[in-house]
Symmetry: C2
Subunit: 315 residues, 2 copies
């Protein structure tokens, strides 16, 4: 399951809890669009802010709405005992795999990070994807640490942060990591602006924020890169640069939160406090960017989401 | 209550939960030693790793064991709704004040950090101490942000990170912040190696890791500095430099975890996973440092803890 496009939807949440109806609709759109897997409760899915019960319910909603598309469920938490409980819940919900970032409060040593994965993989009966996201965890994985963790049982994939922008440097980066992990371990790229370069550099999968709301656009980029057409993939990515710029400035989560409202796919607010949506001027900028990309050729309504995304793919 | 020495004990915790008996004993020692306040469930108290229920129980244990010494209770969590619940629990437990760090997963904007304090202070009936700890939260408070938050109702204190080592620069740092906050707001220093400089530069209180296990040593330093004897305070701090070096290298939490075991005041392990204790060679170094400071003139036993600390004060 760790190839192609893995699409990470929002989990629309306000102070009263998760909007499960909106969440199921977001997930179902992705399955209909034909993404290769769905990443439920990733960073864009706000996993770190939800209670165990909210996460267990969201995992069940996602698996049901995915109708057979494999669902990867985020199980990260600060304490190992919590991670183990979340892993159990995810497996009971029918997760095809789990995604684990080493969340931190106290900075962790390499041995502590390794120990977390050792404790968790020992208990798993589904594959695990190592989630290397220094922006949110503040853990800097060395390649040596990746190599140690990748040899643990049930480790099937690594989700790496953005690769270098230069294609040759990106190929070197992916090759260097590939040399240190078992052949069976998939490497995947995150940081959407880095996806075309990462896929063309040999990554097996794109863990995509864009794909969580605009799956057709993300699939088109993914398929071009995976078929060896690096030029088309790069051109598709280049065209999306105004959106990537907003991702880098505000975080993909806040941008997708506002975009989901604009598409009529989530109500407002849809991020748990202390997170807030984009400020008014940033929303205006986002709407201008989306309009410039022909994402929204008609007034937003729930049923327009898929059509809008297809418009982008066709553009 | 935000003056003098605020001592932050460990919350001894293993995979089965909090060792409430050991915790009560640690807290009671601090009250007996005459600290000015006790910081329950601070960073050294592992608050970020404990469940709501564990935290509510620990708060009650601490207030009871403190026998009238004011207890400040950490209420930080990633989600505002969780913080509000923890604030309620802390107040019900009898907390004299609460301590709030802006924990992060997604990096927060200044407006989001302000919004967190706005949402929480609105609901409080006890004073709040703003906990500025960039090492664990990765939030960099600007002075302007401190000034905005300090004007919110119920904000009574700010716990700042280490001040510059140079006394004149430290005085400037404290004066600059003092100028931006109401006169009623206490400023306190954390980062134990910075305590003597911070107190002598005008901080009202030392939020102390050392004081959570060696209260007499921390009180002696605090009282020298607060009485205007900067030279004695600096000399006491200088003498502890080998310990400060270990704090900076391993984090005060891991050092105090091992020291508590060495004193017979906590069993092992006493940190929740993924946190691990010091490696064997680092424990040996700690024991050598403690011995060199005459902290342990006799084999460690629970009842030796206070005597060991008094030995240090007399040294």
């Amino acid at each position: 399951m760790f190839t192609g496009l893995s699409a990470f939807p929002l989990t629309p949440t306000d102070e009263t809890g998760v909007d499960e109806r909106a969440y199921a609709r977001l997930v179902a759109r992705l399955a209909t669009a034909g993404v290769d897997s769905i990443g439920a409760l990733g960073s864009t899915g706000g996993y770190a802010y939800l209670s165990r019960e909210e996460r267990a319910r969201a995992a069940r909603v996602a698996v049901e709405a995915a109708e057979g598309t494999p669902v990867l469920v985020g199980i990260g938490a600060l304490r190992t005992a919590q991670v183990l409980a979340l892993a159990e819940d995810a497996q009971k919900a029918g997760a095809a795999a789990v995604l684990l970032a080493p969340m931190t409060y106290q900075p962790l040593t390499d041995d502590e990070v390794f120990g977390l994965y050792e404790d968790v993989t020992r208990e798993l009966s589904v594959p695990l994807c190592v989630y290397d996201n220094p922006r949110t965890t503040h853990v800097d994985f060395s390649d040596e640490l990746h190599g140690r963790i990748a040899r643990l049982p049930n480790v099937a994939a690594i989700k790496i942060p953005p690769v270098p922008g230069d294609p040759a440097a990106a190929r070197e980066r992916v090759a260097a990591l590939r040399a240190l992990v078992p052949d069976t371990v998939s490497l995947g790229v995150s940081g959407d602006w880095s996806a075309a370069t990462g896929l063309s550099a040999g990554c097996d999968v794109w863990y995509s924020v864009l794909g969580g709301l605009f799956p057709h656009a993300a699939l088109a980029l993914t398929r071009a890169a995976r078929s060896g057409d690096a030029a088309t993939a790069a051109a598709r990515s280049e065209r999306l640069e105004p959106l990537w710029e907003l991702f880098r400035r505000h975080g993909g989560l806040r941008v997708m939160s506002a975009a989901a409202v604009h598409l009529g796919l989530a109500s407002e607010p849809n991020l748990p406090r202390p997170l807030r949506g984009l400020a008014a001027e940033d929303r205006d900028r986002l709407v201008a960017v989306l309009d410039g990309l022909d994402l929204l050729s008609s007034p937003a309504a729930p049923e327009d989401g898929d059509r809008a995304a297809r418009d982008l793919e066709g553009a």
